[in-house]
Every structure is written in structure tokens, then in C-alpha cells.
Symmetry: C2
Subunit: 215 residues, 2 copies
């Protein structure tokens, strides 16, 4: 499998954790979201993914090249295709709560502070894009801290690493970038620290990717 | 089951279609997103859903009241709990494509034009919130029109109604509200028209809800 991604893209990062966690080897192709006006806008990449987003998962099946965009869709696909080790709990209600937590990041926070939106808020609306991002991070994390308490153990859902953790960890890295004070979210940061001990999370970290330019 | 929703909320609408499609009876409790500064911000509703969003699905299980937010999480839960009639294809790659299309709306378009964001863009940034919404609709629908062609039949995924259709139909209603010209998306509007013949979609339509205030 091949993953088109960007080191600091939280959506790419989620998929990297899943691939590592499930022990699936992959090659990584960096798509620089800022260089040359954004390599995701090139004709070549638009043929790979018309959404002009990362990640895109590429795989060969039945002699065909197949491509999938949208991190949640990729993660559900990997879970169905390679169910062990699992990233969704077995119990139906726990699965539902896990997806709810993941979606609170996926559709509730990240879309409001991705590269395209930040550029638009700054460039077109002439507004402070970091303040815009921080606003939605604070609002989203406040709710997430409350929601996660119902199920949290070492991880978001008890003692099992799940999709919810894959969405949380990269999001908090982004929150810090936008200057968000994370002290009101002790449950979230405790879970983040626990995940930080796991090799699958360590190897997926933004700063450890081949295209990383750490501060 | 009880669904907290708002007639014009596309996220509530998706869940209404699924409940109808699967023949699951439910009661509907309207949460007016604009009246009284937004009923989703009341203390009573925040106890129901700390995200301050609709929909919330409420159900009783083992004598307990259980609540679930986030439309995608609700839909996946309903699909697992009540698998027939199915809203996800059986074939793994078709399932993946279906979720990708749904997520292109769920995380790619809707979050950038929901009530909270529109109010913030207008009130805080003093910008044209309708133009902001229209921008992300056009960008998202352009990609979606291209992506859907790979699998489209009568519906987004061949001849089977699926989650992708549940996300598409309410989104296009929103797109029109923001003045988006839909003529560049003939595949999407053709699928929308086909869905419009189905009772499950008809009964879920915004204008037919008890709290509707049609123009």
C-alpha cells in the first residue's frame, strides 16, 4: 500500500497510526501542502484525489490501482479488511461512542482549521486565522473532554486503543500549534500521554516523517 | 427511540432518512437552533449533548437512557444494530467508496456552513457568511461530482440506496439556500431526483417536519 500524506496533516497522521498499529507495511509519498502553492492542487495529484486533500490510500487489487480518500473511510476500510488487532471495540454501544468521539474531531474540529480554511480566512477574509482555528479547537475540546469521561480508561474507550485515540492525538498537536491552552482538558492530555508510549503512535508522529521540518 | 433534531439541519435529516428507510419508529423533539439565542445552548440540552449540536439519538437499553451524537456515528450504529435493509453495500471496496462520498459531505462541506460557523463568520469576522458557505459548497460539490461518477447508477453506489445518498440529498438543499448554481453537477442532481421518489426520503424532508417554517 502507498499513503499520500503530509507530515503535519492530522488526517494523514491518523492513518499512519492505524497502519502501524495493524502492522501493515506501506510506502509514503509526501504531498507538500504549502510548497509551490500547494502540491495537492497540481493536475497530477488531482487525478489521484479530486478532493485535493491528504491522505489518499493507494492499493493494488485484482491487478487494478485503487485509491481512497477521507481518513475515516480509509480507517473503516482497514478495520474491515484487517480486523486484527482491532481499532473498534466489539460491544455495539462502545463502538458507537468510539465513532462519536472520533467524529467530534473529524467533522467537529479539524475541518475548521485545515490548510485550505486557514488560507481562506487569512487571504480572503483578512481575519486572524490562528484565532479562528483556536476558537473551534477550544469549543470542540471542551465538549470532547466532557464526552470522553463516560468511557475513558487508559485510552478514550477503556483499556483498548481505538479510533478515538487516533483522532485525538494528532488533533492536540494541532491545538498547541494554534496556541490553545490544554490545561482545561486533563483527561484528553492524560490519554495523549498514554498513547505516546506506544510504538505505533511514536512512529506515526509528525516530526518523525521523512518530509518533516520540525520547528 | 427519540431524535432531537431541527427541520433544516442536514445532519438531523440524514438520520431521519435512515430511521424511515429501516422502518424504525421514533419520536421527534425539535431543538430550535436560532430561537432564544439557540436552544442547543441551554443547560438542559447541553446535558443531553455537550457538543451543542443536533441530532442526538436517545434510546433505552437495559433500563438505561443512552444518548448518541454525531450523525455518522448514529448511522453506523443503526446499520450495525438494524442491518436490514442495508445502507452500506456488502462488497468491501464499495463500502469504502460509499463512506468516502459520505465523508466528503460530512467533514468536507457541512462543517464549514453549519449554524455555528455561519454565525461566527457574520458576527465575529463581519464577513459575508453566505458567500463563505457557497465557496465551500462549490469546492466540495465539484470534487463530489467527479468522485461519484466512478460508482453512480440510479444512486451514488449503483442501484442500492446507501449512506452516500443520505448525505447528498440534504446537502444539496443547503447548497441551494446559499445560492449555489447546481447545473455543473448533473450526476448529483440526477441522484437527488431519484431519491426524491422514495418514501423514506420524502417523509424526512426538512419542509415536512413538525418544526418546519417553509419559505
Amino acid at each position: 500500500m502507498k499513503l499520500y500524506g503530509y507530515w503535519r496533516s492530522s488526517c494523514s497522521w491518523r492513518v499512519r497510526i492505524a497502519l502501524n498499529f495493524k502492522g501493515l507495511p506501506y510506502t509514503y509519498e509526501a504531498v507538500h501542502l504549502l510548497k509551490d502553492g500547494g502540491q495537492q492542487h497540481t493536475e497530477a495529484y488531482r487525478a489521484v484525489n479530486p478532493l485535493r486533500t491528504v491522505p489518499t490510500l493507494e492499493l493494488q487489487e485484482d491487478g487494478q490501482v485503487r485509491r481512497l480518500a477521507q481518513s475515516m473511510a480509509i480507517l473503516e476500510y482497514l478495520e474491515e479488511r484487517y480486523p486484527t488487532p482491532a481499532l473498534l471495540p466489539q460491544e455495539p454501544w462502545a463502538r458507537a461512542r468510539c465513532r462519536m468521539l472520533a467524529e467530534s474531531v473529524n467533522s467537529g474540529i479539524q475541518p475548521l482549521q485545515n490548510t485550505a480554511v486557514m488560507q481562506f480566512v487569512k487571504g480572503e477574509l483578512k481575519a486572524d486565522e490562528r484565532a479562528f482555528a483556536a476558537h473551534w479547537n477550544v469549543r470542540g475540546l471542551t465538549a470532547l473532554e466532557e464526552l470522553v469521561k463516560e468511557t475513558a480508561g487508559t485510552y478514550c474507550i477503556g483499556e483498548q486503543v481505538s479510533l478515538a485515540d487516533l483522532f485525538l492525538v494528532p488533533q492536540l498537536y494541532g491545538s498547541r500549534r494554534y496556541g490553545v491552552d490544554l490545561s482545561p482538558y486533563p483527561t484528553l492530555t492524560r490519554i495523549e500521554a498514554a498513547c505516546g508510549h506506544l510504538p505505533a503512535f511514536q512512529a506515526a508522529h509528525a516530526d518523525r516523517q521523512p518530509d518533516a521540518v520540525p520547528a
